[in-house]
C-alpha cells in the first residue's frame, strides 16, 4: 500500500512511467488469469480437431 501511495504522489512529475507501471501490473495479472482459463479450452479444442479427420489445407 505504501508503494501505491508513493506512486500516486509522484504522478505529477513522472506520470507516464507511473501509469505504465500500474497498467503493466494490472493488465498482466488480468490477462494471465484470463488466458490461463481460455487457453486451456483452446488446447482441448485444437487437439480434438487434430485427432479427427482433416479437411484440405487452410
Amino acid at each position: 500500500m505504501n508503494v501505491l501511495t508513493e506512486m500516486f504522489s509522484s504522478l505529477d512529475t513522472h506520470w507516464f512511467w507511473v501509469i505504465m507501471t500500474v497498467a503493466c501490473l494490472v493488465w498482466y495479472s488480468t490477462i494471465t488469469v484470463y488466458v490461463a482459463f481460455k487457453g486451456f479450452g483452446d488446447i482441448r479444442r485444437m487437439l480434438k480437431r487434430m485427432s479427427g479427420p482433416r479437411g484440405p489445407a487452410k
Binding site: 509522484s10 503493466c24 488446447i43
Partner: protein, 491 residues
C-alpha cells in the same frame, strides 16, 4: 555471493520441468505431417496464440537485456517496449501485411516472396533469415546460464553442463512434437512465467519502494532516465532505429509471424497481435524495474565489470527462499519457450525455403518430418557451439538489434513491397537482400576489428537506420531499373 536457493526451491523447479516435459512429449501423437509439425495444422485459436506469442518473446536473454536497459538508461530504457506495443497494435488492428500473408496460405514468408519475385529471391530470403536468426539466438544459451548461475549462487563451472541439459530437454519435445509441443508447453510456460514475473515485481516494489527507484534514476541519469530524447546514450537516433527495428520485427520476425501463420485464419492472427501488444510494454518495463532496483541496491563492487549481471546478482540477494524457486521456474519457463520456438521456426525456413530447390519431387510426409527433426537437432548443436565461444561486445540489445537487422530490414521492405507495390520485382528484391545483409555484417566486423572501432561501437543505431534507408532505396531503384514486365501484381 550468497543466495537463498534451497531444497524447496529445487523441488518447485523440478516439478515444473517434469510437467513441461511430459506435456511436450505427450502431444507428439497428433503430428501426422509437415504442416502439423510446423504450424500445428493451423488450428491455433486466440488465447493459446496470445500465451504462446508472449511466452516465446520473453526469454532469459530478454529479461537480461531489458534489465540492462533499466540499469544503464533508467525508465527510458523501456521505450523500445512502448514502440513495439504501438507497432503491434497498429498491425493487429489494420492487418497491414499480416492479413495478405496469412490469407496466402504459405508456411513461411519467403514462400510468399516466390509468388512475386521468383524462386531465387525465395532462396536468398531464406538464407538471410536463417543467418540473422541463428546469430541472434546464438547468445541465448550463455546469457541464460549467466542469469541462473548468478541468481541461484551455483558454481559457474556447471554453467555449460546445466544449459546443455536444458537445451537437450527442450530439443527432445520440440523434435518430437514440433509446433504442437511448442504451443502446449508455451501455454504452461506462460502461466508459470507470468506468475513469477508479477510476484517478483510486486515484491521488489514493496521492498525497494517506488520513491527509491525514481530517486536512483534521477541521481544517476538525470532527466535522461525518464526521457529518451534527453538521455546521452539514446537520443533521436535510438528512438528512430527502434521504431524501424520493432515495426520490422512485428512484420517479419520468424517467431512472431509463425503465430499468425499457425492461426486458424487471418482474423484470429490479427486478434493475437492486438491481444498480445501491451505485453511488449511489460516485457521491457518489468525487467527494467528489476534493473533499476539493482542500480539502487548494489555497490559498484557488487555489480562488477558488466551491468548485464547486476539484475541477477540483486535478485540472488533479495529474493527469499520459496519465492526463489518460483522465480527460477518462471525464468526457465521463459527460456525454454523461447528456445523451442526459435529452433522450430528458424528450422522451418531451412526446410521450407533453403531446401526448396532440393525438394522438387514430392517428398513423403515421413521424409519431410525426418528432415525437419534433423534440422532442429542441428540447430541445437549450433546453439551449443556458438553460444559457448562468442563473446558480446557492447550492450546486448544493440547486438540483437544489429544481428536481427541482417534480415529484418530487407524482409520487411520485401514484404511491404510484395503486398502493396505492384511494380516491385526481383531486381529490387535482390538488391534489398544484399544491402540488408551486407551493412549489418560490416558493422559487426568493424566493431570487432576496425578501422574506427570506437565510432562504430558508439553509433550502432545510426548504422541501423542507414541500413533500413539504403535497403528501401535499393528496392525502389532496383525495381525501377529492371525492364518492365506485365503480369505480376501485388499478391
Amino acid at each position: 555471493m550468497t543466495s537463498t536457493f534451497t531444497i524447496l526451491d529445487g523441488g518447485i523447479v523440478g516439478l515444473y520441468l517434469l510437467a513441461t516435459m511430459v506435456a511436450g512429449v505427450m502431444v507428439r501423437r497428433y503430428v501426422r505431417g509437415v504442416e502439423d509439425f510446423l504450424l500445428a495444422g493451423r488450428e491455433m485459436d486466440v488465447y493459446l496464440g496470445i500465451a504462446s506469442l508472449a511466452a516465446t518473446e520473453f526469454g532469459i536473454v530478454t529479461c537480461m537485456y531489458t534489465a540492462q536497459n533499466g540499469f544503464d538508461k533508467g525508465f527510458a530504457g523501456a521505450v523500445p517496449g512502448v514502440l513495439t506495443f504501438l507497432a503491434m497494435l497498429l498491425v493487429g488492428i489494420t492487418g497491414f501485411c499480416v492479413k495478405p500473408l496469412r490469407d496466402s496460405g504459405v508456411i513461411t514468408i519467403p514462400e510468399l516472396f516466390e509468388k512475386k519475385f521468383g524462386p531465387k529471391v525465395r532462396w536468398g530470403s531464406g538464407v538471410v533469415i536463417v543467418l540473422g536468426g541463428l546469430l541472434n539466438m546464438g547468445v541465448f544459451l550463455r546469457t541464460g546460464g549467466d542469469f541462473l548461475v548468478n541468481v541461484s549462487g551455483m558454481d559457474p563451472g556447471y554453467l555449460e553442463l546445466m544449459m546443455t541439459a536444458l537445451l537437450v530437454g527442450v530439443a527432445v519435445y520440440t523434435i518430437l512434437g514440433g509446433m504442437l509441443s511448442v504451443l502446449v508447453t508455451d501455454f504452461l510456460q506462460f502461466v508459470v512465467m507470468s506468475v513469477g514475473l508479477i510476484a517478483t515485481t510486486v515484491f521488489i516494489l514493496d521492498k525497494v519502494g517506488w520513491d527509491t527507484l525514481v530517486r536512483t534514476v534521477q541521481v544517476t541519469h538525470g532527466d535522461g532516465g525518464f526521457d529518451p530524447f534527453k538521455n546521452e546514450s539514446m537520443g533521436w537516433s535510438y528512438v528512430i532505429f527502434n521504431i524501424l527495428l520493432n515495426t520490422a520485427a512485428v512484420l517479419t520476425w520468424q517467431t512472431q509471424i509463425a503465430r499468425v501463420l499457425a492461426a486458424k485464419d487471418s482474423k484470429t492472427g490479427r486478434k493475437i497481435y492486438t491481444g498480445t501488444s501491451f505485453f511488449f510494454v511489460a516485457r521491457f518495463l518489468i525487467p527494467g524495474i528489476w534493473g533499476i532496483a539493482a542500480l539502487a541496491l548494489l555497490t559498484p563492487d557488487q555489480v562488477g565489470d558488466s551491468s548485464l549481471l547486476a539484475m541477477p546478482r540483486m535478485l540472488g540477494m533479495l529474493i527469499p527462499a520459496g519465492m526463489m524457486g518460483l522465480l527460477i521456474a518462471a525464468m526457465l519457463a521463459a527460456d525454454m519457450s523461447t528456445d523451442s520456438s526459435y529452433m522450430l521456426t528458424w528450422g522451418s525456413v531451412i526446410y521450407n525455403d533453403i531446401m526448396a530447390p532440393f525438394r522438387r519431387g514430392k517428398w513423403s510426409e515421413k521424409k519431410g518430418l525426418f528432415w525437419n527433426r534433423t534440422i532442429i537437432a542441428l540447430i541445437g548443436v549450433f546453439l551449443l557451439i556458438y553460444g559457448l565461444w562468442y563473446k558480446i561486445e557492447g550492450d546486448l540489445w544493440t547486438y540483437l538489434g544489429i544481428t536481427g537487422t541482417i534480415y529484418l530490414s530487407s524482409m520487411s521492405v520485401l514484404l511491404i513491397a510484395c503486398c502493396y507495390w505492384k511494380d516491385a520485382n526481383s531486381w529490387g528484391a535482390t538488391a534489398a537482400i544484399i544491402f540488408g545483409a551486407l551493412l549489418p555484417v560490416s558493422t559487426i566486423i568493424l566493431q570487432k576489428v576496425g578501422p574506427y572501432t570506437e565510432w562504430f561501437m558508439g553509433n550502432g543505431t545510426l548504422c541501423g537506420i542507414a541500413t533500413y534507408v539504403v535497403v528501401a532505396l535499393a528496392m525502389i531503384i532496383g525495381s525501377l531499373l529492371k525492364p518492365h514486365q506485365t503480369g505480376k501484381a501485388a499478391v
